[in-house]
């Protein structure tokens, strides 16, 4: 991460919960990820100046643009003077203005407005659509105009609220790549709000998980995904098969866990013996053992026989709900196209292996 440029530390009482967000960002794309109602949009609005926090401070490159405490002078630079680019959820393009006029909106009264707007339009690959009205543009084109409009005044910060969620996958992928290029080109501080983990992986350098108004964890995306700091983060990230277990043994060779009577082996992880930990295993890391196939080393460990409770089919994934001897249920998933000689219907027994590498201990917060 490069030097810190934007710092946000704000509180606001909202219906149902309290927003208390702390963020430090450099010139990078931070994905603000969380379920709907976690306060993502309110956070963006507060940074943009459309919502006033009850207390806190915000600064860009060392200059305060918001400060409010119990005592002391209040700083609250109005939205129009913050020069923070904001791409709204439904684009919010002005329907009475053409694509070019939308981009030129903020350049009002500037002599080079027209030329600059044209340059931006060209940069977004939309030069031929300058005279179209927003309703004459496709969703992807509207999104590009919205980004160009937000960048017209050369902001240092760009906020995006669920920018690509309404677009089809091919368009989304191209725009995500575009956004990464733009960020690098213009050295922008980008805060990108989404509730889709795929988006987070596609564009973000770092991931901030927001839950009930708080940043639970922030870090490189991979790290947050692999090592959620607590079960809240794990749940928000859509992780299944969370369980509490006691650490029986913790050595450089590995861990031995006791999950309510089920003995499990895991890779070495920094936890103390005898402590109670929250752990998880992804459904795809629970392997079904087929009696007619040689036992591969990957599935040597943690074998257990369970009873199938339920079977669900998604587009390209099968999911089994398996009742374990210790009384808990485990989700198992495997690709639809996997050949299976087993019946795998509810009521049948199935032999499973919980991959040793897949057993992850959540870091206590």
């Amino acid at each position: 991460m490069s030097d810190t440029r934007l710092t946000v530390d704000i509180e606001k009482r909202l219906a149902g919960f309290r927003l208390a967000v702390r963020l430090e960002m450099g010139a990078e794309i931070v994905v603000l990820f969380g379920p709907s109602g976690a306060g993502k949009t309110t956070t963006l609005n507060a940074i943009a100046g459309l919502v006033t926090p009850d207390a806190g401070e915000m600064a860009l490159d060392g200059r305060l643009f918001f400060r409010k405490h119990r005592s002391g002078a209040v700083v609250n630079v109005p939205a129009r003077k913050r020069r923070i680019g904001y791409v709204f959820q439904q684009y919010a393009l002005f329907p009475h203005l053409t694509a070019l006029e939308n981009i030129a909106y903020a350049l009002w009264r500037r002599r080079d407005a027209h030329r600059r707007a044209e340059t931006l339009l060209e940069r977004m690959g939309l030069a031929h659509l300058a005279d179209r009205y927003p309703h004459e543009l496709s969703g992807g084109q509207q999104q590009r105009v919205a980004i160009a409009r937000a960048l017209a005044t050369d902001p240092q910060v760009l906020l995006l609220d669920e920018p690509f969620s309404a677009l089809d996958p091919a368009v989304r992928e191209r725009l995500q790549k575009d956004l990464r290029n733009l960020q690098a080109e213009m050295n922008l501080v980008v805060l990108y709000v989404t509730h889709r983990l795929e988006d987070a992986f596609a564009v973000g350098h770092r991931l901030a998980v927001l839950r009930e108004g708080r940043v639970e964890q922030i870090g490189p995306i991979d790290q947050v995904f692999r090592h959620p700091i607590n079960h809240h983060v794990a749940a928000v990230m859509g992780l299944r098969n969370l369980f509490r277990a006691r650490v029986m043994d913790s050595t450089p060779e590995g861990l031995r866990l006791d999950w309510d009577g089920l003995r499990l082996e895991a890779m070495p992880q920094p936890v103390a013996a005898a402590s109670i930990v929250t752990a998880y295993i992804r459904p795809e890391d629970v392997k079904i053992i087929y009696p007619d196939r040689p036992l591969m080393s990957a599935v040597r460990h943690n074998q257990v026989i369970g009873k199938i409770v339920e079977r669900r089919s998604q587009a390209d994934l099968q999911t089994l709900c398996v009742s374990m001897p210790n009384g808990h249920e485990l989700e198992v998933s495997f690709p639809v196209h996997a050949y299976t000689p087993l019946r795998l219907t509810p009521g049948e027994d199935v032999r499973l292996s919980l991959r040793r590498e897949g057993l992850v201990i959540l870091h206590p917060s």
Partner: protein, 226 residues
């Protein structure tokens, strides 16, 4: 002979329309964009002239503009039975049509668009002029035309506060009443025709502007390059 009331009516209506525009737009903006205690009561009060008998509106205006009213004592205006009193009556009855139409039109403008304008550097007046007003202009114009037409046709309250003095406060509707009373049917016919034509044109115009100029895209916008 009918020109005097026509000119007077135009004068009264022009002044009334100006005030309907300014006061109506301000009220519509406040009612559409803010919430406050007593908002519904204010809305109801503004709409009252639509349903009250003109004589009741006229009576209130007599109280407000007559001798002994605090307003008159304070400002020193003696405008009863002059044409400005007719203009005030016309403003009061035309205002609710303007407020209702503009309030609805302004409320219809997506607040996200106004927020977008703010993040793009617009002050509040600029947001109104460059975003809210252009997007609500059809509704505002429709309300203004309806309000003006109603002001032009005002009869009862005008009679009570401005009287029916030929050449000074006798507007077209009053002149028509007089003409019929005096069996001057030629003059009555001309003026009735003129009033009907003006009212018809106003309503036709409102219908026209309330139809969107560009047809909204019915299904998918054409997809060239995303």
């Amino acid at each position: 002979m009918i020109w005097q009331p026509v000119i007077l009516s135009l004068q009264v209506t022009a002044v009334a329309t100006f005030f309907i525009l300014v006061i109506g737009l301000a009220l519509a903006l406040v009612l559409a964009r803010s919430r406050f205690a007593g908002k519904t009561i204010l809305e109801t009060a503004i709409s009252l002239p639509l349903v009250l008998p003109p004589s009741v509106v006229g009576y209130y205006l007599l109280l407000a503009l007559g001798r002994g009213s605090p307003l008159v004592e304070w400002t020193g205006w003696r405008i009863l039975f002059t044409w400005p009193a007719a203009a005030i009556a016309a403003t009061i009855v035309g205002l609710p049509l303007m407020v209702q139409a503009s309030q609805a039109a302004i409320a219809n403008v997506d607040p996200a668009l106004e927020n977008a304008a703010r993040t793009l550097g617009s002050s509040e007046p600029a947001v109104f002029w460059r975003v809210t007003l252009p997007l609500a202009r059809r509704g505002i114009l429709a309300g203004l035309v309806l309000g003006a037409a109603r002001a032009l046709g005002e009869f009862g309250a005008t009679l009570m506060v401005a009287g029916n003095i030929p050449g000074r406060t006798q507007t077209l509707p009053l002149a028509i009443y007089d003409a019929v009373q005096n069996r001057q049917y030629d003059a009555a016919n001309q003026m009735v025709l003129l009033m009907t034509a003006l009212a018809f044109f106003a309503l036709w115009f409102v219908r026209r502007i309330e139809q969107p100029k560009r047809p909204r895209p019915s299904s998918q916008p054409e997809n060239t390059t995303a």
